[in-house]
């Protein structure tokens, strides 16, 4: 039962990471690419780490501090990922990268 849940979490996490990578390649400009990487990476990483956390918690209960550290990782990814996305976006906007509109060439 535990294995099924862990594998499911890892698989969904990998699916979202994969979607983020496809989005990075398919979407037309800088800003829209950030949409793909900024969101999909957050949930993908969190799901993968959560799967590992559950696995460790039930298979190696003699080292309970490792899941706690993984939990900290999840919290910090949730804090840092949107902030970094926003910082990159702001830097691009301030240096004058033009946002793509429907009908234009992709760049």
């Amino acid at each position: 039962m535990l294995e099924i849940i862990v594998i499911l979490l890892l698989a969904v996490g990998i699916f979202f990471m994969f979607t983020g990578a496809i989005g990075l390649l398919r979407l037309p400009d800088f800003y829209t690419r950030l949409h793909a990487t900024g969101k999909c990476d957050t949930l993908g990483e969190v799901l993968i780490i959560f799967g590992l956390l559950l696995y460790h918690l039930f298979h190696y209960p003699e080292t309970p501090l490792v899941p706690v550290k993984l939990l900290f990782l999840i919290i910090f990814i949730f804090l840092a990922n949107p902030t970094a996305t926003h910082a990159i976006m702001k830097a691009a906007y301030n240096t004058g990268v033009k946002p793509w509109k429907v009908g234009e060439e992709r760049r």
Binding site: F16, H35, A36, L65, K69, T85, H86, K101
Partner: protein, 168 residues
């Protein structure tokens, strides 16, 4: 709340948080590591207590409680956001129509602005570009018309964050 009492309280809270963090990360409970932890936590608490605990900390408990409820809603929004992006990316025609929108909010405090900015970035189809902390103005890049209308017309997220931090 101002003055020495508030400051001492801030240092104490920061020290406890830092020391708990030290214990969990180190995993050693002998005298040497505990002493080193106390010294390091004390230095960090003395230098940077005003980052974690602001001077006017009224109704912190109520705000924290509301924030936890808000976090549950936010997690659900993040899942929706990922399915939204996955749909737009994997759809053969890529249904995107990017635009930049601008709107005002009633929020002023740092924590409220950071919460709203990060929430916007994590929820479906929108990323914060710029925030003006004095006027509470947000510039947001939206990937299509529907998520942009969610912020401009419905204002669900602005109302929820304003409710958490009680800054209407």
């Amino acid at each position: 709340m101002k003055g020495k009492g508030g400051k001492g309280f801030g240092i104490l809270v920061t020290f406890c948080a830092m020391f708990l963090f030290w214990l969990l990360l180190s995993g050693f409970f002998d005298a040497f590591h505990l002493t080193a932890g106390v010294i390091c936590s004390a230095i960090v608490a003395l230098i940077s207590h005003d980052l974690l605990v602001k001077e006017k900390g009224d109704k912190m408990l109520l705000k924290s409680f509301k924030f936890v409820i808000y976090l549950g809603w936010e997690l659900w929004q993040i899942v929706l956001a990922n399915f939204d992006v996955a749909y737009r990316v994997l759809h053969p025609k890529m249904p995107i129509d990017p635009r930049i929108i601008e709107f005002d909010t009633s929020l002023r405090s740092d924590f409220a602005l950071v919460t709203l900015a990060n929430s916007i970035t994590l929820t479906p189809g929108t990323i914060t570009i710029l925030v003006d902390p004095e006027k509470g103005t947000f510039w947001v890049h939206a990937i299509a018309k529907k998520p942009a209308d969610g912020l401009l017309v419905d204002k669900t997220m602005q109302r929820k964050v304003a409710n958490v931090y009680m800054e209407w």
